[in-house]
Symmetry: C2
DNA sequence: CTCGTTGCAAATCTTTTGCATGTTT
DNA sequence: AAACATGCAAAAGATTTGCAACGAG
C-alpha cells in the first residue's frame, strides 16, 4: 500500500501482505485486538511452508517477538484456524499439527508415512463431493471433511508376512 | 465347544463366541496370556453396540470383573485394535473413541454431527480404492484410511449468515 | 479510561509407566 | 518356578485457565 512494487523487492512475498490484511480484518470483524503477539504469531505461522506444531510455532513466534508466551500461542491458534488462514490437522498423534493455507484449496487429504513420519498434503479433487454424498445418508450437511491415509513405502518384490512385528 | 446348541439358548449371540475365540487365538499367537481382565474387557467392548471411550469401557468391564483397572484398560485396548476386533476412532476430541467391529467392513467413514455430538458410521464403498489412488501419488501404499466429516443438520429455507457466531 | 490481552504458573485431563505383587503357562 | 500381567499411584505431556499486570482502542 505504501511501497509500490520495486524491481528489487527484497523478500516480502506477494500474498503475505494480503494475508496479513485478511488477518487484521478478521480480528476487527470479531472485536479482537491487533496485538504485537498476534501479529508475530501470524507471521511465524504464515512463513512456515510445512506442517508445524504449537511448540514449533512458539519458537518461531518468539524469534519475532520474544514476549510471546505459550498460552498466547494456544489462544491465538483457534483465531488463525477460524480465519481460515491456518488449518488444523489431527493425525492421531499426541499433539496437533497446523499448516498455513497459503491460499490453497481445502480439498486435500493427508497421507502419513508411518516410517518417516512425514505428512503429505495431496489434492483430493472429489473429496468434498464424496463427503457430501456420505453425510447426506444421515441427513447431514458437511461443514468440513478430511481424509487421512496411514501409509508406508511401497515394497516391491515381497508381500508375505502380514504383520512385521510392532 | 462344550455346549452343543440347545433349543433354549438364553442369550449368547452367535458371533460372540466366535469373536471371543478369535480374541483368544490372537492372544495365543502373540504370546499374550488369557487373563480374566482381558476377557472381561473384551466382553465389555464387544457388548457395546455404539462408540465408547476408554473410561466407559472401564465402567462396563468392571461390571464384569471388578478388579479391572484403568491401566489395564489402556494396556488392553491396543491388543483389541490390533486384533481387528475393535476399531479406534479419533475424531479430534480430547479422548479417543472405540467401536467393536462386529464383523463389519472396514470401509466406513465417520460423520460427526457437531450439534448432537453423535458419530455415525457410514459405508463408504470406494474409500479404500480412493485412498490408494491418493497414496500412490507420493509412492506410498495405504495401511489404513479414514474419512471424517464434520456435519450439521440440513437447514432448509435459510442459508444466509456464514458464521453463526461461536 | 475501559476492557480485552498477556504471561506465568498452576490446573486439567487423558494416557502412560515404575514397581511390587498376583497369575498364567 | 519363570515370565508375564495387574493395580496403584505417580508421571507425562499437550492444552487450558485463574489472576494480576499490561496495552489497544
Amino acid at each position: 500500500m505504501s511501497v509500490p512494487a520495486q524491481p528489487s523487492d527484497p523478500d516480502p512475498p506477494a500474498d503475505f501482505e494480503t494475508a496479513r490484511e485478511t488477518f487484521k480484518a478478521f480480528l476487527a470483524k470479531n472485536d479482537l485486538r491487533v496485538t504485537n503477539q498476534r501479529l508475530a504469531i501470524f507471521e511465524a505461522a504464515f512463513s512456515q511452508e510445512e506442517h508445524f506444531t504449537a511448540e514449533e510455532l512458539l519458537v518461531h513466534a518468539r524469534a519475532i517477538d520474544a514476549s510471546v508466551s505459550r498460552a498466547t500461542i494456544y489462544r491465538t491458534l483457534p483465531i488463525l484456524t477460524e480465519s481460515q488462514l491456518v488449518r488444523e490437522i489431527d493425525v492421531g498423534r499426541d499433539y496437533k499439527f497446523y499448516l498455513a493455507s497459503h491460499g490453497k484449496r481445502i480439498d486435500q487429504a493427508q497421507v502419513v508415512d508411518v516410517e518417516s513420519n512425514k505428512i503429505y498434503e495431496i489434492d483430493a479433487p472429489f473429496l468434498e463431493w464424496y463427503a457430501r454424498s456420505v453425510a447426506e445418508k444421515v441427513g447431514l450437511e458437511p461443514i468440513s471433511q478430511r481424509l487421512q491415509v496411514q501409509a508406508r513405502p511401497i515394497r516391491k518384490g515381497r508381500e508375505k508376512g502380514q504383520n512385521p512385528g510392532n
